[in-house]
Symmetry: C2
């Protein structure tokens, strides 16, 4: 007898050739090249229960009577069935159709389909209408990262364009305006779309020039019962509770159907302020401790000499030898950065470490024994503990603080060293009440030129308690009705309640963001739609590729996309992007730019 593995989309089945009674024709099955496409006819045999293997085809063998080679395989650039001898990423990307023969990849693709199906059914049952919005939209001055699409058709009707001037669409970066206009129409109260979006940016991190969002928008969103909750009380104190409920149902259903995991009825809620002060991150990973402690709160106000508002708060992380034993060696092995100080407590400095800290001394030059004692008692530190120190501004800014980054470094190193095993339970968390405007986003400064920018987008409504604050011009203090959904320290979605008052929207464009007429022009139709009696509304977009990467337990979204591009946006299979001849470009009214310009 001889045995052959037969792989199909259901799994691998063992073929049995009984040499005692087979014809010479059948014997040559062993000559068929590996990875060929073969039709097998034979008898299905049940494997003895002791020999059952996992998987859909694990219970059977097939005794071969006859085979037909449907399509023989030529010499292959690599053999995907051999996981121990895989070539490098680029070669596999070039022959993606072979790489996709590996079950680990094709299983991801199938899981993606299952999750999309689950999401669509849930949203359909919740009364959402699936609507396709235009992929070909208008270029906007904001479009620092947009793709342009030249067109050969003549100028837009009645738009006063010269027919000789080249005209462009822009690919949607998100369906933000179309979906808001759809809800403004009142014809659809609940919209969703699993939408392809596009961004022309270099491959920082794990991004793709085309990516997929689960995009939603709802009319008549409202406050929930906890609108008056106090900070730190795990309360959703903003509008959009209907969005929260639907997204939680959606995520719960996906985890139940796909992972067999029952999630809590509600996910925890944390304000941006709390997330930044406790975890130093606007997307905190709450699967482990190492929380940040505010030392300024422990110290008398008059001992502080603050010259720089960026250094108003002194904070620390204590990694304890006793209770943080999984992290203590990683912490000791981590190096301090320009903005952090790392002090290992030994018998000699356990009492006086704060006096010796450069970071602390800088703003607390006059600490006395009593202050030291207060801090040490509050921190309950012991010799052998590790302390990390840094400053931050009183109002947290941006997406992470120095100690937030330190916290993650210690965590990651402890994992890499095998000293800490993170829980497999998914930690979902809502972050709310982000600052509505920012001056600290380098990506936005490109367009803001020193003006305020919207932290997310200019359609987000302020929290109601801050509306007057906004009209008084205290721009930095205004919080937005924005919510991010975070899973295990990764942002998997974000949305907001939108401004539905045309006057307020115009005030934000004109008085806060100080947009000129040209900059405001892409928003004219939205402003007008608000003036037509638009309902209050809000929405969210979930990053589907990232969600799938987490469900498939892979680091790279490329593993959950059938035909992904490289980090640099290159498609090695289809060989794009590529040069195009001048004759073809001419038809679109463009040419390569002259090198002199």
């Amino acid at each position: 007898m001889s045995f052959f593995p037969l792989k199909d989309s259901f799994g691998t089945t063992q073929l049995i050739l009984n040499h005692a009674d087979i014809s010479p024709d059948l014997a040559i099955l062993s000559n068929v090249p590996v990875e060929s496409n073969v039709l097998i006819e034979g008898t299905v045999l049940l494997r003895p229960s002791s020999a059952k293997r996992p998987g859909a085809t694990g219970e059977i063998d097939v005794l071969v009577d006859k085979f037909t080679v449907l399509n023989p395989a030529d010499t292959l650039p690599f053999v995907p069935s051999n996981p121990h001898n895989l070539p490098n990423d680029d070669l596999r990307a070039r022959y993606r159709y072979l790489d996709l023969r590996r079950s680990i990849l094709s299983d991801n693709i199938k899981k993606r389909s299952q999750v999309a199906h689950t999401i669509r059914n849930l949203l359909h049952d919740q009364g959402f209408v699936e609507v396709e919005t235009p992929v070909l939209l208008r270029s906007s001055p904001e479009g620092a990262r947009e793709f342009l699409v030249p067109t050969r058709t003549s100028a837009a009707e009645g738009d006063g364009q010269s027919a000789d001037e080249p005209l462009f669409y822009a690919l949607q970066q998100s369906p933000q305006q179309p979906k808001q206009l759809l809800i403004c129409s009142g014809g659809v109260d609940r919209y969703y779309q699993i939408a392809k979006c596009f961004r022309d940016e270099d491959g920082r991190k794990d991004r793709q020039p085309e990516f997929t969002q689960v995009d939603m928008e709802m009319a008549f969103v409202s406050w929930g019962e906890n609108a008056s909750g106090t900070p730190g009380s795990d309360a959703w104190r903003i509008g959009g509770t209907e969005i929260r409920d639907v997204v939680e149902k959606l995520i719960q259903t996906v985890w139940r159907n796909i992972e067999g995991i029952e999630l809590p009825e509600h996910f925890k809620v944390m304000t941006y302020h709390e997330a930044m002060t406790r975890f130093g991150s606007d997307k905190p990973d709450t699967r482990f401790g190492l929380e940040i402690i505010n030392l300024t709160d422990l110290l008398p106000r008059d001992t502080q000499v603050v010259s720089d508002p960026e250094q108003e708060i002194l904070e620390c992380i204590v990694v304890r030898k006793s209770s943080d034993s999984e992290f203590i060696r990683a912490s000791r092995a981590c190096e301090s950065t320009a903005s952090t100080e790392h002090i290992s407590l030994k018998d000699g400095n356990t009492r006086s470490w704060l006096l010796q800290s450069n970071v602390a001394r800088h703003v607390y030059p006059y600490l006395n024994e009593e202050d030291l004692s207060t801090v040490n008692t509050a921190l309950k530190i012991k010799s052998g503990d590790d302390i990390w120190l840094a400053h931050r501004p009183r109002s947290p800014k941006g997406g992470s603080s120095a100690l937030g980054r330190t916290r993650l470094s210690v965590f990651e190193l402890a994992q890499a060293r095998g000293e800490f095993t993170v829980t497999r339970d998914p930690h979902f968390l809502w972050i709310t009440e982000f600052p509505l405007f920012t001056r600290d986003d380098a990506d936005k400064e490109f367009l803001a030129h020193g003006r305020w920018s919207s932290s997310h987008h200019p359609f987000t409504a302020p929290v109601w308690q801050d509306v007057e604050v906004m009209y008084r011009g205290e721009v930095q203090s205004v919080r937005g009705q924005h919510y991010d959904l975070v899973l295990n320290g990764v942002e998997i979605g974000g949305g907001s309640v939108r401004v539905h008052d045309a006057h307020m929207q115009d005030y934000i464009f004109t008085s806060i963001l100080q947009l000129n007429e040209q900059e405001k022009s892409p928003f004219h139709q939205l402003l007008h739609a608000l003036r037509c009696g638009a309902p209050p509304h809000g929405g969210i977009a979930l990053g589907f590729d990232r969600l799938m990467a987490m469900l498939c337990n892979t680091q790279s979204i490329r593993d959950v996309i059938a035909f992904p591009k490289t980090r640099m946006g290159a498609d090695l299979l289809f060989k794009s992007p590529a040069a195009v001849s001048s004759e073809v470009l001419y038809q679109y009214g463009i040419q390569p730019r002259s090198s002199s310009s």
Copy 2:
């Protein structure tokens, strides 16, 4: 009492204000501008059963206790709730968010969502995996109608491009190659996607630059039981029966769930040859008669003098005063064209009309009495009948013949005159066995330069009986395993069994289409994938916009798209396409072409 209509996404509800006991605050509800967004609190009253209206809100009134204006409407460019005073298409397109308040449009959008949901569930249940394929693909020399997308990212890795040369993606015109490569991978046996596709062409007919396809591909497609059926026997004699079965199930389920109509288990099948000879169209409308009759078959061969192979067959349509009474007046009112002759039979010419026909005399100058008699007897003509005459080549070519177009003209005129009412039963029909290659497609001649072109695309397999014919070089005689799905004379989808033999595929590229190396380069990855043991496969794409337009009983696909573009590709709402500044274009390595070039 006074009454107000309140419209929401469920329908219109009647509000009742009881002036006897309402406060002055409430009375001012009548001052709220029309189309404002209002929150109503009150008591739901059941209407008397005699006063029930159709629709979701037709059984109730609401007695108003309190109202809150959530968002007042300003002066509107038009009032969508007044169907008798709608402005022109362009103004409504510009304010599409107002136009979508008309239920007739928002109902279409909701129906589209329902149909998509039905299709997805059916395909999911049939074991199809939904896979997203790249929208950003590579430009191809074939891409006469493709959109280019310049990118700012540096040159594709390792592709030998100069970094200064502008690089482009192209938007997918269909996911043809990605879906075939996916099936070639073997990881997925059944693929589907409701895919956005793009074509940069002028607005001939009812086309959009972005449109939606229900796209499918299946591995291991095969012949059915009727593979040896005879022509004209309503038999599917090609491969891909699994595609046929799934599409019929899908269409049946949509018509059952959405329209409440039970369709036959199998749709009729007709070869291209039969469709062209009986109906003069490759997408015949079989809801009415007026079939074409071949006169050459009735006449003795030796009476024919053929100088032009395009005129080998003489054919006619007889519109009978008796049995075609709905059409006879329309027929008499239709004018003949350059390629048709129109003869009205009167007492004087009922016997001799064929002798007097210019079209007939041209190739039959020597007819005798017996020939006339044979024809007249066979046609059973009578005085008062109308006859249309034309020539065609022996092997039908293209999508329609002169008499096929005449047949439709008479039908349309009879409908417009109110003399014929077409059945409401949908007539589904498969057309199969198209010629695989053509030299008569003006659109393709642009690239073919006198060479053969593929009638559909170069991946379609020949019917098995014609494989030898193809290798013998009798290109014009080769039929393809192609199938179109036709509904009421409109093509709503098409597909084929693909070539899976790399040698045959290369023969088609090289020996038949005579592509040079550069022209073949976009197909390299597919050719290689076939060489890696690809399974036999086939697929289809259904035009989702067109299908929806037919389900919504509208002439224009713009009525089933939330934010459509005009025929010229202009988006009057978002004002695209639009000019882009030279500074921005510079970043993409392009500039407007100089007027001198």
